[in-house]
């Protein structure tokens, strides 16, 4: 499977173009940025879970916010939207349905990670 097939439906091409525009063709940096995203995400996912389970809504809010921004940069718009919903729960302190949302975030993140790793390999 090629990178473009991997990314289809997971990463928004307009958002990726914007990111590439910002990076200006520096593929080394692009790879580094993908690595940073993939390295940081597990901590954010863990913080979301911990925030939900421990009732620390501020932690949930911040972690969801960070992953929302990062995933939007790479065009992972579905993931970003799910994070936004989760962020709103954290902000409002409404934890109902948060567990299910986190599961969907985790599943969506797995897809985004696969797509980004494919892109990285093709750089």
């Amino acid at each position: 499977m090629t990178a473009s097939e991997q990314t289809t439906g997971v990463l928004d091409s307009a958002a990726l173009e914007n990111l590439k525009d910002m990076i200006g063709g520096d593929t080394e940096f692009f790879a580094d940025l993908i690595d940073t995203f993939i390295a940081d995400a597990p901590r954010m996912l863990a913080d979301m879970r911990q925030g939900m389970e421990g009732g620390d809504v501020a932690l949930l809010h911040r972690a969801a916010h960070s992953l929302k921004s990062n995933s939007a940069d790479f065009g992972a718009l579905t993931l970003s939207e799910l994070c936004r919903e989760l962020e709103a729960r954290g902000k409002d302190g409404v934890l109902a349905g948060a567990a299910e949302l986190i599961e969907r975030v985790e599943a969506e993140y797995a897809k985004a990670e696969t797509a980004l790793k494919a892109i990285r390999q093709d750089l």
């Binding site: 910002m22 520096d26 940081d40 960070s66 921004s69 940069d73």
Partner: protein
């Protein structure tokens, strides 16, 4: 606009800060990163960035509180702050303005939009800075003018009173005044007229020194300049029966002739007025010496008199800047030495005096060789 401006990016999220750092550096800015509000506040204490890009949601104090504290600090309140918010955080976008931010950008950042906003606010900030500087300079000029006007009026009043007084006496009693007295009265009137003329010359000189923007700095024909200055004081030299020693030749220094002539005229007239009786005045120069503030070579010119000399306290009050003339009445030297000081600063030179009570004084100025 130069892209030497420094931008501080405050974001706890490594992907975001790396991206901003890479992009802004690539564009030509100096970029600093802080990963929290506290760290940002610490950094601005040492380095004043020209602009701050501030994330809202961070552990510890958030972006709004960070901005509030920046705006509270006298030293940091003028640094423009642009918030970085998420497109979805509608409330946050405008909230930043309440805390003193100048603008916001939404994430994901659109590179051209970010640059346009940064450029706009740096331009505004730079204009603001130069306006503030201009205001400070103008206030200084106004203070100088006030002090100068005050001093000039004060200095002109006393010789004028004297002229009017003697003229009144002559008007009322001319028939009864002897020939010797008549001559003496007329001499007093003439002397006071000269004094007033000198003060007015100083006023005109100050006006030209104040207006000076770019004068042409070139090697000076010091013999000719000194000769001009002496010529202007011929009446005083004759009156005081002064003896003046000149060197056979002068080293070359760089400056602006008409002003250097004023400096000589000022030093020389002081040496005649306050020197010995009769005045014995020596004009001279050293060879090139190190001594410029930037390490360049200078030539030091001097006027040495055989007067009473000056105490250290008196020496300190000479060369008083105009704005302080009101508070420090610099003996009889009046405005002249203040103008000399001003001229030499503009010509990258220096001024000074060496004096010993009972021996005499040496007033000097140095110019780049």
């Amino acid at each position: 606009m130069t892209n030497q401006d420094t931008i501080l990016v405050v974001d706890d999220n490594p992907v975001q800060s790396k991206l901003a750092l890479h992009f802004l550096r690539r564009t030509g800015y100096d970029v600093l990163i802080a990963t929290s509000g506290e760290e940002a506040l610490e950094q601005v204490r040492d380095i004043r960035p020209d602009l701050i890009l501030l994330d809202v949601l961070m552990p510890g104090i958030d972006g709004f509180e960070t901005c509030r504290r920046l705006k509270d600090g006298e030293e940091t309140r003028d640094i423009p702050v642009i918030f970085m918010t998420s497109l979805s955080d509608t409330a946050d976008k405008v909230k930043g303005f309440e805390f003193g931010a100048v603008d916001y950008v939404t994430k994901p950042i659109q590179p051209q939009e970010l640059l346009a906003r940064i450029n706009t606010h740096l331009t505004i900030r730079n204009l603001q800075k130069s306006l503030q500087q201009e205001i400070v300079e103008r206030e200084k000029l106004i203070a100088e003018l006030d002090a100068f006007a005050h001093t000039v009026a004060h200095d002109l009043k006393s010789p004028l009173t004297s002229i009017v007084g003697y003229a009144n006496v002559l008007e009322e009693h001319h028939a009864a005044i002897s020939g010797d007295d008549l001559l003496r009265y007329l001499q007093v009137i003439a002397q006071n007229g000269y004094r007033m003329g000198n003060i007015i010359d100083e006023l005109l000189l100050l006006a030209s020194v104040r207006a000076m923007e770019d004068v042409e700095i070139k090697p000076l024909d010091m013999a000719a300049i000194v000769s001009e200055a002496r010529g202007r004081l011929a009446y005083m030299i004759e009156e005081y029966e002064a003896e003046i020693d000149l060197p056979e030749s002068w080293p070359v220094a760089r400056g602006y002739g008409p002003w250097v002539e004023e400096v000589w005229a000022n030093y020389l007239s002081n040496a005649l007025k306050y020197g010995g009786r009769p005045p014995h005045v020596e004009l001279g120069a050293t060879e090139r010496i190190d001594g410029g503030p930037d390490g360049f070579e200078v030539v030091r010119f001097y006027v040495r008199d055989n007067g009473d000399g000056l105490t250290p306290g008196e020496q300190e009050r000479l060369f008083t800047p105009f704005e302080r003339l009101d508070q420090v009445k610099a003996m009889g030297h009046g405005l002249g030495l203040s103008i000399v000081g001003r001229i030499m600063r503009k010509l990258q030179g220096q001024v000074g005096v060496e004096s010993e009570v009972g021996v005499g004084s040496t007033f000097w100025f140095s110019l780049p060789a």
